[in-house]
């Protein structure tokens, strides 16, 4: 079974990990309660989507 010949240096490890990036979620303002929520999703704050109650908050 093939295995790495050399230990990977800290520098190389960190260089690779420098490409790990978090992206900000796209949020829209809820028309009903003015909170931020993900688009095309029921509002987690007021529990409505398209003026319709979906969740019991």
């Amino acid at each position: 079974m093939p295995v790495p010949k050399r230990k990977m240096s800290r520098s190389n490890t960190r260089s690779r990990r420098s490409q790990w990036k978090a992206s900000a979620p796209t949020l829209v303002t809820c028309a009903r309660c003015k909170e931020k929520r993900p688009s095309h999703t029921a509002c987690p704050n007021c529990g409505t989507y398209a003026k319709r109650r979906v969740l019991d908050v």
Binding site: R32, A42, K51
Partner: protein, 205 residues
């Protein structure tokens, strides 16, 4: 080559998948609204709507077809007697999927799948509509409306008495009726507003 089924594959095998979808359909017809993952909801929608179409047809053959999927006879009976006739005038589209965001624990995207237009649903929609209207009216004329309505009520009562006794002008009667209706609407709207948007709107304010 057969066309592959749309959507995600569920479970550990075809039998497992069939069982899960049948259980989901049973739960949906039993409760009218279930919370599940987006993938399962998307797979469930065509199956559930096909079963409702069988229920609309309503004959014995259709019932036996449905019994091969939904094993619970009480649920099948409810499907054929209540849910099917409810959608007699609706050409498909009996379910609604609403995404509700990721689940805590495994971050799976969750969704609510429900049968459209149960009675409670309409009531809620009307209540929110009434709440919006009431809010608009309040924004336009804030506290004066309430005082005026109180004054108008007393005026209306007096005017009604006069109309009964003296039979005054028709024009004034019409105006009085209009004001009565407005006052009633405002009161109804405010009540609906209090019921419907207790937490959400108030929190935002």
């Amino acid at each position: 080559m057969p066309t592959p089924t749309k959507g995600a594959r569920l479970g550990g095998g075809p039998a497992h998948e069939r069982l899960m979808l049948a259980n989901l359909a049973t739960a949906l017809f039993e409760h009218g609204k279930i919370t599940t993952t987006e993938a399962k909801a998307k797979r469930l929608r065509p199956l559930a709507e096909r079963l409702i179409t069988f229920a609309k047809r309503g004959d014995l053959a259709a019932r036996r077809k449905v019994m091969t999927v939904v094993r619970d006879k009480t649920v099948v009976h409810m499907l054929f007697t209540e849910i099917g006739p409810q959608y007699a005038g609706r050409p498909g589209g009996y379910t609604r999927i609403t995404k509700i965001g990721p689940r805590k624990g495994d971050n799976a995207p969750m969704a609510v799948i429900e049968l459209v237009e149960p009675m409670a649903e309409q009531v809620v929609a009307e209540a929110t509509g009434a709440a919006k209207r009431a809010a608009k009216e309040r924004e336009e004329a804030t506290t004066e409306v309430v005082e005026e309505s109180a004054v108008e009520e007393t005026v209306v009562e007096e005017a009604g008495d006069e109309a009964g006794d003296v039979a005054s002008d028709e024009v004034s009667d019409e105006i009085v009726e209009d004001t009565v209706e407005e006052v009633a609407d405002e009161q109804a709207g405010e009540q609906a507003d209090e019921q419907a948007s207790e937490e959400g709107a108030d929190d935002a304010k």
